[in-house]
């Protein structure tokens, strides 16, 4: 089987068996990027030299008998993770000139695990978007149909993995930004429990929701890579000091007896019929594989989108106040005075969607509106979280669609923020409650992939990964690659 058709686990096994070297592997993927990236626009920066140096070091490590499970495996980082000495743009004009002066913890850990960095991937500006169309550097295209969006905000990571330009990539998920693009391009993507993966060096959007994770072909690959990035980090004050299980070993946990709750609210109006039918069929398959299926309800869940669009912009308006045109980032030409410097630097540096969210956040936090919007939303967030907690008293895992429809046309929703926001109707709940969730491919509608979402209780990643792995042992959707990239 050609190198790029193999999963991360299969590549790791091939490297261990010395079927091929890390340098050969890096060259193979760099050649694929050179051929296919111009049309896909998935990579913003290709770090070819760095990749070959990393790969040579990985081969030396292996020759010395010191290789770990990920030594020599090529990866890419979403351009939201700071990479020492490498441009880190966050998809924004604001950071078009920014070379990160240090590594994010996620970057540091994957480098320490011996992975090979191929480059940085495109994304919605400051991770604000569900289609990758808000990137200052242009939209990413969906490898299954170049006229469609790949989802967002980790759209570059998703498209790059789907087209097999890289075996796996990092992403971040504030309202669905790993799971929704994973679903729309037919790969697996896991958002861990809030606090599971360090946010140090990850450009902040909404700090009580942001969480880093992995996009890769299979759940097994996600398990391999998540084990490398998860764990306590004293440099992130919200990092949680809970031991990291051996996710790969725990993949073998049996599906038999697992109680899977089907969320009633996820199958209501708004869900595309054929998409819903595929998700239901995949849940039926989980039942055949031994899981027990239970109907559950989280009655406040339909309020998750409006709650999110108060909480996330509020936190974003505060976080993005650091971009002032003084210490780093874009500065306007010839400012008249300090106020002009702030306003024009920010007005020019941020794109329309980022400005819209900063202003929404500024408004809901302003005196006189704080109680009506922000405090109210935080109370509803409590209700949604309590709903999940109640549901997890009766079931081990919740199941539903990841996204209400397959990938839509580029340009179709850019002029209507509310329609765009509703793409994340099934993913936002997990962020509000800090829960881990995974999306895995479960079929195709009109040639476009559909994702099944599984949500778990806090620190229930092992359970999600094992259930997804059991499903993938009985299905092959995660092995399909668009014909043009086979």
């Amino acid at each position: 089987m050609s190198l790029h058709r193999r999963s991360v686990a299969e590549l790791a096994a091939g490297l261990a068996a010395k079927e091929f070297s890390a340098v050969e592997l890096a060259r193979h993927f760099l050649a694929r990027i050179a051929t296919s990236n111009p049309a896909l626009n998935a990579f913003l920066t290709v770090t070819a030299e760095r990749a070959l140096a990393d790969a040579a070091r990985a081969d030396a490590t292996r020759a010395a008998g010191k290789a770990g499970p990920l030594t020599g495996v090529p990866i890419a980082h979403k351009d939201i993770f700071c990479t020492d000495g490498i441009k880190t743009s966050c998809g924004s004009k604001m950071l078009d000139n920014f070379v990160a002066p240090y590594d994010a913890t996620v970057v540091e850990r994957l480098a320490a695990a011996g992975t090979v960095l191929l480059g940085k991937t495109n994304m919605d500006e400051f991770a604000m978007g569900s289609s990758n169309e808000t990137s200052y550097f242009g939209p990413v295209r969906n490898p299954w149909d170049l006229a469609k969006v790949p989802g967002g905000s980790s759209g570059g990571s998703a498209a790059a993995v789907a087209a097999r330009l890289v075996p796996a990539a990092t992403g971040t998920d504030t309202g669905g930004s790993i799971r929704q693009p994973a679903a729309l391009v037919g790969i697996s993507g896991i958002k861990p429990t809030y606090g599971r993966v360090s946010r140090y060096g990850m450009v902040a959007f909404a700090s009580s929701l942001d969480q880093g994770g992995i996009l890769a072909p299979s759940a097994e690959d996600c398990a391999l890579l998540l084990g490398a990035i998860a764990g306590f980090d004293p440099r992130d004050s919200t990092s949680v000091d809970v031991p990291v299980p051996d996710y790969v070993a725990e993949l073998q946990a049996p599906l038999k007896g697992l109680r899977i709750g089907v969320l009633k609210e996820f199958f209501a109006a708004g869900l595309d019929g054929p998409t819903g039918a595929l998700v239901e069929a995949s849940i039926a398959q989980l039942r055949e594989l031994g899981a027990q299926i239970v109907d559950v309800s989280c009655p406040n869940l339909p309020l998750s989108v409006p709650t999110y669009y108060v909480v996330a912009p509020a936190e974003c308006s505060s976080n993005l106040s650091r971009f002032d045109g003084v210490r780093f980032g874009h500065r306007c030409q010839s400012p008249r005075d300090l106020m002009d410097l702030y306003k024009r630097s920010r007005g020019e540096g941020f794109g329309a969607e980022v400005k819209r969210r900063i202003m929404t956040g500024t408004y809901v936090l302003s005196a006189g509106y704080y109680d009506a919007y922000y405090l109210k939303a935080q109370k509803v967030r409590s209700l949604i979280t309590a709903d999940f907690k109640r549901a997890f008293e009766a079931v081990d895992v919740l199941a539903g669609p990841t996204s209400p429809t397959p990938a839509f046309d580029i340009g179709a929703k850019v002029d209507d923020p509310i329609t765009m926001y509703l793409n994340d109707i099934y993913t936002i709940g997990a962020n509000l409650a800090g829960l881990p969730a995974i999306s895995v491919p479960c079929g195709f509608v009109g040639g476009l992939p559909v994702g099944l979402q599984l949500i778990g209780p806090h620190f229930g990643e092992s359970r999600l990964l094992a259930a997804a792995h059991a499903y993938q042992r009985a299905s092959d959707f995660h092995r399909r690659v668009p014909a043009a990239y086979a």
């Binding site: 606090g195 709650t307 980032g329 005075d337 202003m359 929404t360 500024t362 509310i418």
Partner: protein
């Protein structure tokens, strides 16, 4: 909730964002729509629910000992600054 041009100008000023004449009507329209959309939260019976700021129950922000853990790397950090002189960030004159 319907915002006026003056509302949006005031919000943009608070947020330190320059909005062009051409952009203004677009934001008046979209921000009004977003606020109307989130107003469905008003109907939620929140009763005695506590406002939730952190997703993990009982988790509090850690403190650490007040000791320096970073070395001086100002030269590296200031390499990203638009304007630096004598290791200081330069901005337009603030005091006449």
């Amino acid at each position: 909730m319907s915002l006026t041009r003056r509302d949006v100008e005031a919000i943009a000023h608070l947020a330190r964002l320059e909005i062009t004449e051409g952009e203004l009507p677009v934001y008046v329209d979209s921000l009004s729509k977003i606020l109307s959309f989130v107003e469905q939260l008003n109907a939620a019976q929140t009763g005695t629910a506590e406002p939730m700021a952190h997703p993990l129950e009982g988790e509090v922000q850690r403190l650490r000992a007040d000791v320096a853990t970073e070395t001086d790397r100002h030269q590296k950090y200031q390499a990203n600054a638009p304007q630096v002189a004598s290791a200081l960030y330069v901005v337009p004159k603030v005091i006449e």
